[in-house]
């Protein structure tokens, strides 16, 4: 496989980084797990993983200066993929555990899913759901794994790249604007469908 494209996976102390590296390894992707701005800058693509609370993750980024590195990378036009909280941080702000500013790369906010719980409907939303993609260039139409209580509410409808439904509520499960992409689901934990999605990201533009 083409090794001219290098993918940086951001290591900021709050991601399920091993899962993502494992997924990239089976694709023979040239991936580097890094917390160094210079590694990010030298890469062709950037993945921001996400297991963590929004405020903690943002503070990890700002304390290490990685927030600046991400913004610089985004403005360079090279592709970014944010996963779960990695997607949420692309937006202006989140309401998880209070009001917290995000990276502000996409206009919009992160809010709790507007869902009433009952005997069967639970929060966090944990499970496998279909994603209705705006473009049909995604290699597979299948269920992806979600685990979240909060979701992104983009200001611009044009930024919505995928939508999913839980308990009768439709929420944004993928966003895309130019080189910036984010997914609420975990492609690295979504079986073959997820590997297909990641492969598309890694292979695009090669």
């Amino acid at each position: 496989m083409n090794s001219s494209s290098r993918v940086a996976v951001l290591d900021y102390g709050a991601g399920n980084v091993r899962s993502i590296m494992n997924a990239l390894a089976v694709m023979n992707c040239d991936a580097v797990l890094t917390d160094k701005p210079e590694d990010i800058e030298a890469s062709d693509k950037l993945i921001i993983p996400g297991v963590g609370a929004f405020a903690y993750c943002m503070s990890q980024l700002s304390e290490s200066g990685l927030d600046v590195a991400i913004k610089r990378f985004a403005h360079s036009g090279k592709p970014i993929l944010g996963i779960c909280v990695g997607m949420q941080m692309l937006f202006d702000a989140s309401e998880e555990y209070g009001e917290h500013p995000g990276l502000g790369l996409l206009p919009g906010r992160v809010k709790r899913l507007p869902i009433e719980t009952n005997d069967a409907i639970r929060l966090p939303h944990i499970g496998w759901n279909n994603v209705e993609f705006a473009e049909k260039d995604v290699s597979m139409c299948a269920e992806f794994y979600f685990v979240h209580s909060f979701a992104c509410f983009p200001d611009k409808p044009g930024d919505v790249y995928g939508a999913s439904e839980y308990a009768g509520v439709t929420f944004t499960s993928a966003v895309k604007r130019n080189n910036i992409c984010g997914v609420q689901f975990h492609p690295e934990r979504s079986g073959a469908a997820g590997i297909g999605f990641l492969t598309d990201f890694v292979e695009a533009g090669k």
């Binding site: 399920n16 997924a23 390894a25 609370a53 966090p124 944990i126 685990v147 934990r189």
Partner: protein
């Protein structure tokens, strides 16, 4: 509804007991993890059966190799006592951690962990033993009673920030005689976070009986898979027959 395969691990082997005791070796963790993944399981739960007894974390290197070719959520439990243990679990490939003893000894661990890693990464694990019409929470694989009522403890764990609760019935565990449905029903009623029912699955009728009364978010099973009593597809087909939505994979 999700279907989870539970692998209890001791000294590099997947083991299985009855009532969490009398442990027998059933296979290699990596082989079984991969096999269940390929057969369409939705998640894996890897539990270090002895970590909390001996105060050590020997599971992490097993997870590292088990995760290499498995791309579904993996929860790791056993011996998670502090934030650094959670860090180590996530770094070895886990997506979530299951905490029992660590939460009983220090309930604030659940709060601190959910603030840092998000509630969704923190699974509270309860081992429940029936005492008449109520249940007592146990630790150390059903050996030590905590004196806590399971229902009250469930509420407390949810308030502390746990994102899920896995309830294992010590009475039913490993017996293949069916779930403790009353237990699952009461815990499910006590909280609004997802509840995982564990312990006792032996036949598809047990699934029908369970979901007829209660809608847990997931069921976790071990014996039926390890001893090939039921296939993953059998379970999912039964759930579909009961009107439950399942992931149609593999």
């Amino acid at each position: 509804m999700r279907v989870i395969a539970r692998l209890d691990i001791k000294n590099e082997f997947v083991i299985k007991g009855i009532h969490l005791e009398g442990l027998r070796k059933v296979g290699d963790p990596c082989d079984l993890a991969k096999q269940y993944y390929e057969n369409g399981i939705d998640e894996l739960l890897l539990m270090d059966a002895v970590a909390s007894l001996y105060d050590r974390n020997n599971l992490f290197h097993i997870i590292e190799s088990a995760c290499r070719e498995v791309f579904i959520p993996i929860t790791v439990g056993g011996g998670i006592r502090q934030l650094s243990d959670i860090d180590a679990a996530l770094k070895s490939g886990a997506d979530k951690v299951a905490i029992n003893t660590g939460a009983v000894n220090n309930p604030d661990l659940i709060r601190e962990a959910s603030m840092r890693y998000g509630s969704q990464a923190i699974v509270a694990s309860i081992e429940a033993k029936r005492a008449g019409d109520s249940w007592t929470a146990y630790v150390d694989n059903g050996r030590e009673p905590t004196g806590k009522s399971v229902i009250e403890w469930s509420e407390e764990l949810a308030e502390l920030g746990a994102g899920e609760i896995i309830v294992t019935s010590i009475d039913q565990e490993g017996t293949k005689k069916g779930f403790d449905i009353d237990l699952i029903e009461q815990v499910n009623r006590a909280v609004t976070i997802p509840v995982i029912a564990c312990g006792g699955l032996g036949t598809t009728t047990h699934i029908e009986q369970l979901v007829d009364r209660v809608q847990p978010s997931a069921i976790a099973c071990a014996s039926v898979f390890h001893y090939k009593v039921l296939g993953i597809t059998d379970i999912k087909q039964t759930l579909i027959g009961c009107g439950r939505k399942v992931r149609e994979a593999a």
